[in-house]
Symmetry: C2
Subunit: 703 residues, 2 copies
């Protein structure tokens, strides 16, 4: 329960100082200026009076148990301070002091010690190494951020970087009057309270309509997904996750101790949990204000009203690029517009009210377009021309939004002359403004995405009939032999136990045995080298297809074994697998690798050399259900291949969807699987199923 | 010569009015307020005095021949006015009046009449239907834009949309003090003066460092490219081309046609002529200010100096995504930084001077990083924290830029508190500021692109030994038969004449003839239906490979002809082509389609079904040389396939590059070719050349 951080009735500031250059002063000053209505207790050994408040020498002396304690003292003394808070019975602590995990080994140990103490007293802790906490509605400000409180609004923002926070808060005090906050938390080292806790808390905060996060790495991937999925159903969660690229990651680890997970894992995790991901700060807030101050977008049909053709076209382009629809206005609407607007005007979407349009013309057009049932949202563009009534038009736009339940985004273009108009829209009607039409279009795209994410049912996770014991037995055998990589025969058995069909295949330890098996199966056959030490068979000439008779089989066997021993000296060779030849199918790849952050990351893609060259693959975090599995098939660029091109029959998507879910189940049942892939998996035409031709499994190395 | 528009010594305003609500008043008022130092002649039938200037009843009465005339009268009277200007000897006219081409047929005729008159007097004309013209340095302002002149600077901007112009000019008067203009032209209907003329003029304008254009379509593609290529070598040309989505809807019968659109043509044309394309207004100006106010970027190694980790990571991410390098600082630099900066600071790039950094710390870090030979450009990030000295730091950044010849982009984040700092950088040092680090990174990417575009030598166009007459003869035959599509036998001959190798192939009109040819060639052979009415052979079962003997050939022949007549009733069937079987190679596609704007658009891509599914193709406008041809090979996503993967040998890129240039030559020599493609072209291993397996040519329909 984090209420104590955001709605405290009494706050102790440990390390409060009367020296204005000290953070201990800044925090107290900010708290006082924040018009906080509760009791304030500076704690300071000197016991001096600060800003009119008598300070107490130590926590024990406080006349009551404060709801919240803020610690702003040199790191060496933080443990005692937390201890003292615990003994006093304080349940919530913000540790602003730096000098912990971010400074290296010794710092990390000190931090763990602090957390240990907090835990033992059942306290929640924000920080250490952070800027502090604000609730703009309560109000309370226990940060050392200069510039005081930001504009009040409906955006809750958490930032792993305190400095980024200061910049962002400052934005709302300048010309971005439409940005306003409900609360702000600088997470610092996230010793205890993390993104997960705050998401959960703000989900039920009536003052918060949208949750924003800047993060450099998440604590517990799977739990994050669980919570994010619930929260994002209630209100939008928008995240800027940095450290995406290689040197970006370098910078991360040198910045905080956090370990960045793989890009694909984050994208999959965010998608699966309904979190909207943005890749820069501007977009973060462009999207936030739309969600915070306009009703949700219910469809994808957008109308544009403009007094200039050019910007109208730019908006149209941006909408189409974002796969939004340019709304088709009803004839009645068009008629009404045609009657009122001058001849040169365009009554079709984008509606061009012309450069000499005054407020009344905008008002009329807006009213009719907004009322059109084919319109889900509107972008209103204004360029400051000779006859343009900027302020009056701003009021017209604002009044409109008060009457309808559709999102309206303003785009008063320019800067100097439109400034008052932008402020009018923000102050009186909370209509956000975008300096450029493209940015408004992108905001609508985000609203569309949220709408879809919300409707998306994750579908319950199917449980297939499988033979877990058999798999467990195989893994134990492999472990017993101190191996992590399994030979094909073993992998085959595992996949068979999870319902995968595979070509008939038997291990032959001698040429004669191989010939005997081939005779049984019938020619032609395939021969594959079988050795725990050889993973990429083809590269050592360890695969021969289309062997037509006994001689060919015998020759192939001997050649392969010879080559294997030569290319991989000392390899333990078990012999060769004799396999039936199967008809060719569409080659795809199914795979899994463990992401340190989110766990099992399942891959689907086009097989063969194309997977390497084109990297045409898509990902999901396991476990996932039918919906995700079938969506994966549509996500690869070559998805169309599955529908059958150039006279080929459509592929068996149902079987493929099943296969993906079986993989999901397998890697969930057995966390000891480190990596796995089936490459290729042959997909046959609809109704004919799939066949796993080659499969690999590698187990986690024992700790 | 457009000097008269930008440096006139005397201006006549035809339609000047004393009624403030009239455009004729606005234009005169703007001219007067612009501090224009030359003579001003209002022309107005009433001959009344306006703003202290006596106006003349008609042009003929003017005491001298003005350099420039501006026409602001109802469209019906424009022709007479232009006539009068011509008779007076005026050589430059701006027609602001609307009511021409943009209003339909009658308007178009009126416009053509006006242009005809201008031409006959050898006048240049801007407009009609435009906002007017400004030169901020001269200064002269003959627009009716409200708000007066923008900030003075080095950006020349032309806009097809006048209203967009007003918005953009207004930007420079607000909080974007770093945006400043040298000149502005509203192009209107582009009756005479177009983007091409202005590019050429501004290329030599000493006050202009970068040329910007907002355009909805270009007049003459090939000439645009020629001029743009020259101009972009002198200074950057950045274009925002809108209307991307509605363009390029034409019936197409070949693959290439379906892949190519106006979008691809514009991208290719801009790339080949060194024009930087942006897809939104914000980026247009983000890039412009970097070019206008900072030295060019000479490499791609960027250093970041920041007082906050988070934004540093965001900048790093953005740099990497844009394929820019995070500069590796020299040890000496790192050492120097380590000695001066506090321990917690990061002396490696991104250099983190920490949140409590004052101006002196920035100054020191900047000096050393800027001096590092491994650094080509710098992003300086500042977040407004408690101890940050914003203005002093802004001065430090500015002073630095005065001393070095490397581009420095500011990123003072936030808004309210950093405002003064942003103004200091802009006013005293012309250092542009970006509200977010990502935008600064993108500006550097644009500078890198320009640097490369400038260095890129288009390479002279090779001329291969070819047999034009033979091709001409074939085309004449096809024309004579009133066909536009050619059968394969004909296409083969054309490509052969241009040096393409093809498998042996003969037309057989009867099964017996087919067998005879097959016997000659030796089995196995391929059979293909030959009919001018069947373009996609495979889809009607019109291709059979691997025929081993006479019987198979005879059967295939009869089946094919039967099918063809059945699927394409009334098709004119010539028989079947008998072709030798050739060894398989890497399948690629070469093609060409005609773009209405730029002409021959040549396509290269991965062949087979993948070209349809993955659309992995790249484009060039013909003619092009070696450099472009070989670059195309690297541009497709599957480029790596040409290097040989999974043990395959590298493909014969030289032969492929040749083939592309031969296509370029063919479609340049014969404009009557509407579309062509070779699909597949087999590419063999290095030294083994290429082989065209299937080729198609479609001629332009006769007008």
């Amino acid at each position: 329960m984090l209420d104590a951080f955001f709605r405290p009735n009494s706050v102790a500031i440990i390390g409060a100082s009367r020296n204005p250059s000290k953070l201990g002063y800044a925090v107290l000053a900010n708290l006082v200026e924040s018009k906080f209505t509760g009791r304030i207790y500076p704690v300071n050994p000197a016991g001096e009076e600060i800003l009119g408040y008598v300070s107490f020498p130590q926590v024990a002396d406080l006349p009551e148990i404060p709801d919240l304690a803020v610690i702003v003292i040199p790191y060496q003394h933080v443990p005692e301070a937390v201890q003292a808070c615990g003994e006093k019975g304080i349940k919530a602590v913000v540790v602003i002091s730096a000098g912990f995990r971010e400074t290296g080994r010794a710092g990390l140990e000190l931090e763990l010690k602090v957390l240990q103490i907090a835990k033992q007293f059942g306290m929640r802790l924000i920080g250490p190494n952070c800027l502090g906490v604000m609730d703009i509605h309560h109000p309370v400000n226990v940060t050392f951020a200069a510039g005081g409180m930001p504009m009040k609004g409906s955006i809750a923002f958490m930032s792993q970087s305190g400095a980024l926070g200061t910049a962002v808060l400052d934005m709302s005090m300048g010309n971005n009057k439409h940005i306003g906050f409900s609360a702000f938390v600088s997470l610092g080292n996230k010793g205890d309270v993390s993104e997960i806790d705050l998401m959960r808390y703000w989900a039920d905060d009536p003052n918060t309509k949208v949750i924003l996060a800047y993060s450099e790495g998440l604590p517990s991937g799977q739990e994050f997904m669980k919570v994010a999925r619930e929260v994002s159903r209630k209100k939008p969660v928008i995240m800027l996750k940095s450290g995406v690229t290689q040197s970006g990651q370098k910078a991360v680890s040198s910045h905080t101790g956090s370990l960045a997970g793989a890009e694909q894992a984050y994208n999959a995790a965010f998608y699966q949990s309904g979190v909207l991901r943005v890749n820069n700060l501007q977009t973060l807030f462009d999207h936030a204000v739309a969600f915070a101050y306009q009703p949700l977008l219910k469809g994808n049909r957008i109308a544009i009203v403009t007094n200039a053709g050019g910007p109208g076209i730019l908006a149209t382009d941006a909408l189409e690029k974002a796969n939004l629809q340019l709304a088709r206005l009803e004839n009645a609407t068009i008629k009404a517009l045609e009657e009122f607007l001058p001849d040169a005007a365009s009554a079709a979407n984008p509606v061009d009210v012309l450069g000499d349009a005054r407020a009344d013309r905008y008002e009329f057009a807006l009213k009719h377009v907004a009322a059109d049932p084919n319109v889900d949202g509107m972008i209103v563009i204004l360029t400051p021309q000779a006859m343009t009534e900027i302020d009056a038009t701003a009021h017209a736009i604002g009044k409109l939004t008060a009457e309808i339940d559709k999102p309206v985004l303003g785009c008063l273009m320019g800067d100097h002359r439109v400034q008052t108009g932008i402020e009018i829209m923000a102050k009186f009607y909370t209509v956000p403004n975008y300096a450029f039409p493209e940015r408004a279009a992108h905001a609508f795209a985000a609203m569309r995405d949220y709408n879809e994410a919300r409707k998306r049912d994750t579908g319950e996770i199917r449980k297939f009939e499988v033979d877990q014991d058999r798999v467990r037995a195989i893994f134990e055998k492999v472990r017993a032999e101190n191996r992590v990589s399994m030979i094909e025969a073993e992998s085959r058995e595992v996949f068979a136990a999870y319902g995968f069909r595979m070509p008939r295949s038997e291990l032959a330890s001698t040429p004669d045995e191989a010939v005997r098996l081939a005779d049984e199966m019938g020619y032609p056959v395939v021969l594959k080298i079988a050795s725990p030490d050889i993973l990429h068979k083809t590269e050592v000439g360890g695969v021969k297809v289309n062997l037509h008779n006994a001689t060919e089989v015998r020759d192939a066997f001997e050649l392969m074994v010879y080559r294997a021993t030569r290319y991989v000296p000392g390899a333990n060779i078990w012999g060769c697998l004799v396999q039936e030849m199967v008809p060719p199918g569409l080659e795809v790849l199914l795979g899994m690798s463990r992401d340190p952050q989110f766990g099992a990351l399942v891959t689907f893609g086009l097989g063969g050399i194309y997977v390497e060259v084109l990297k045409d693959v898509t990902f999901r975090i396991a476990p996932f259900g039918e919906t995700d599995a079938s969506t994966m098939l549509r996500e690869i660029r070559a998805a169309h291949l599955l529908d059958g091109v150039r006279g080929q029959k459509p592929a068996d998507k149902d079987a493929l969807t099943d296969a993906l879910q079986r993989i999901s189940q397998l890697v969930t049942d057995f966390p000891e699987i480190a990596e796995l892939d089936i490459n290729p998996l042959f997909v046959y035409e609809k109704g004919r199923g799939v066949l796993a031709l080659d499969a690999r499994i590698i187990l986690q190395a024992r700790q």
